[in-house]
Symmetry: C2
Subunit: 517 residues, 2 copies
Amino acid sequence: MTEPAMDQPQRRRGGERHKGRGGAARIQQLPRRQPRRFFAPMTLVSPDELESIHQASLTVLEEIGMDFNLAEARDRLKAAGAEIAGERVRIPRGLVDSCLETVPADFTLHARNPENSIRLGGDAMVFGNVSSPPNCSDTDSGRRTGNLADYRNFLKLSQAFNCIHFLGGYPVEPIDVHASVRHLVALKDMVTLTDKPFHAYSLGRERIVDGIEIARIGRGISHAQLEREPSLFSIINTNSPLKLDAPMLRGIIEMSSLNQAICVTPFTLAGAMAPVTIAGALVEQNAEALAGLVMTQVVREGAPFIYGGFTSNVDMKSGAPAFGTPEYMKATVIGGQLARRYKLPYRSSNACAANTVDAQAAYESVFSLWGVTMGGGNMVMHAAGWMEGGLVASYEKFVLDCDLIQMVMEFLQPLEISEDSLGLDAIREVGPGGHFFGAAHTLARYTDAFYAPMISDWRNYQQWHAAGRPEAWQKANALWKQALAEYEPPPIDPAVVEELDAFVARRTEEGGAPTDF
Amino acid sequence: MTEPAMDQPQRRRGGERHKGRGGAARIQQLPRRQPRRFFAPMTLVSPDELESIHQASLTVLEEIGMDFNLAEARDRLKAAGAEIAGERVRIPRGLVDSCLETVPADFTLHARNPENSIRLGGDAMVFGNVSSPPNCSDTDSGRRTGNLADYRNFLKLSQAFNCIHFLGGYPVEPIDVHASVRHLVALKDMVTLTDKPFHAYSLGRERIVDGIEIARIGRGISHAQLEREPSLFSIINTNSPLKLDAPMLRGIIEMSSLNQAICVTPFTLAGAMAPVTIAGALVEQNAEALAGLVMTQVVREGAPFIYGGFTSNVDMKSGAPAFGTPEYMKATVIGGQLARRYKLPYRSSNACAANTVDAQAAYESVFSLWGVTMGGGNMVMHAAGWMEGGLVASYEKFVLDCDLIQMVMEFLQPLEISEDSLGLDAIREVGPGGHFFGAAHTLARYTDAFYAPMISDWRNYQQWHAAGRPEAWQKANALWKQALAEYEPPPIDPAVVEELDAFVARRTEEGGAPTDF
């Protein structure tokens, strides 16, 4: 099995600007690499407190149980030792324990370009694009319903920015493609316009089975190799509190049975779908995530699984969901403690509730990134472009977030401590009262010593004022247009395209997938 | 000695809105309290690497030395064992070690209102207002030179917001008051318009001596009590690299000899006044901070001292200072490791380089707060209102930052883990498929379950659009005006005012302080 290259402490990215075909300066960004957290993740609750959350979750599963809306799922769970009463499934502690023994602690999610395969788990971190909003917006044309043209643009941006490691779903829903064949059109685009690992939705048997086949064709591998190498992942959202719907359960069964990756993410908003306390919401999140874990392992021992956390609070006054809040940060950090207790890869998000790319959008996002980075997150969904609590994919926010992600990646680069970097010779050379601009130590390192942000405007006030007082979103606006203009489709074997086309044509002719779910 | 009340894990602030004298809803904010970090600060370098920074700093002090531009300072250092050659002072390792033995690990900085006294050191955190910009701005009237009216407004805001624990200096320089008496006017305002601990500038003997006397009068205490209880602090900025100017050294001598608090903060911009590597800049920062520490302890053993860190990088293209960068974050965290190695209170900042209250201002500030909060900072200077790398105090940024500080304070509140908060009964009550809006557990806690931000707009897009698409700075604009309208001067003994007035009148008649420094 090919292992993806992990990030090593390295001197520096190539600092010079790359020249595009026209000779103009291309967008300067970090090279493709997967960051690692080299420091211990933070903890907010003691081992005893963590245990009490864990035990309460097991009590929920054993005593209250969860509704599983698919007979086949209930049958499989019953055979594994769960107690069934109607749709209610009660999962004994021992079954959870045994499933925790078979689930892998980490795994590789394979991309059709092997250089883009990602490691999930341990101290590795990866960032994905915004996924699943019904709307999109840019500051030129405003807010609009998702459509195929914007869908493709966001795929191109996701491919263009190296800090986007995977496709977490449709960056915006292409509503103008009929729901019966949307997944075929969308996933074919995903495989051809990008060469990074990707996601397919669990919306009934046909869609997820098609998704698995498209992932296989895209990589040009056999069914047997696909089964050895997870090449697709699917997010399972529980219907909180304590329900798993049939299309989601079908997704787990199809994916796990073929050793593809499942991420169960309960969306447990404290005070709405979960108890009003963060502790209580975490109990529910954890119970639901563990129930999903059990389902995967009952289908196939060793099937890859990602622990998803998405606990936040609501606005006390309106009931509206809130993100990037102190409560969200705490839930994210403690979710990481739970995932590490179970030795599972941990998924979180870069979330915000802002309606526009203003200071709020930035602070909610950085607070989210703070929580997931310090809390030991491995997989950051919605890392670029998410706005309005997930209702909008924003072009400007996408680029702004890429800059934020790159800053986090730079923060995760270990600091070089060596005789040379300690700089005693430079300090000797300059001495009291001098300056380091012309020191040999400076000149040798100056051009690539620091991260060069894409958005930040560090001009002084006079220069900035003379330039028309631009705000961050304006720079972001220019950059996404440049990224689209510079976009080049990743190479793909024409035989793969042919096979993809044939598959999509056949499945389209067959009518695609039912739309009555 | 009165110890200030420290923050205890507590159920909640009073959630209800306070009514002003007119009956209108007052600004809802957190109550006065001093947060504590209850988790371990993060580390970015190993103990061995930290030791190599420490040792390199000692080599700088012992072998290269620093220029001390005041004969009295050099004489005192010589008597303590330093080697003097002209203005150059070389400090042996042993002298640093012995000074580290006498300096206190933490201390209380006393306010004239004892409830506002703050603990510095250990796991306590405090936040101060923006300090020392020559300009200020608001979005109605734009950018202007600092003046007394704006100075007083910012003092009122610093008093009005509970999350501002201390006054770090003049929130904007009142340029329209003559420099000879500016400190008298400004410090008298500080004592009367606020009742929090404050700072005086070390700009020659007269100013700092006047500042100490004003602090004493403000508290209504004897000289002897003042000497027992640090009641004023002064920031000493080294003239990096490796110089300490006469006015600053005079400040240390006057302050430390009376047991008042000194914070030495080298402003070590990597690539400009310090080596281009963050490691090298930290070696220089650390050498200069330790030199300042030695000066305080040579003046008076046990004098309170704060380790200040302000290492950042410059823009590679222009040489302009940058803040809230990944390099700044790393320097902040490692600065904390150094301060803890020496068992010293640690000062950092909430810094940004943005020219306007946009996404950049927010993300650079939250990255700064991330570094200082996780890195073990105790005292956060410039925590509210700092813009343009310190050239502007912004009214809107002030309020925005107060919201960010409050979010950090909430993040620092331990999560309650109890049978009640785990919410099993609520989960039992609601069960699969229900919702928690009406659950007894929710109703009992709903109104004050979560932090209610001052700025964040969580309305949905339609409501927000109908309201005129306000951005974060617009809410901040409304709030600072409301805070000024609601401002009430803190009570003060008329005898204290009388003594202050008499002192200021006498010193003004004497001509104030020389302006030829």
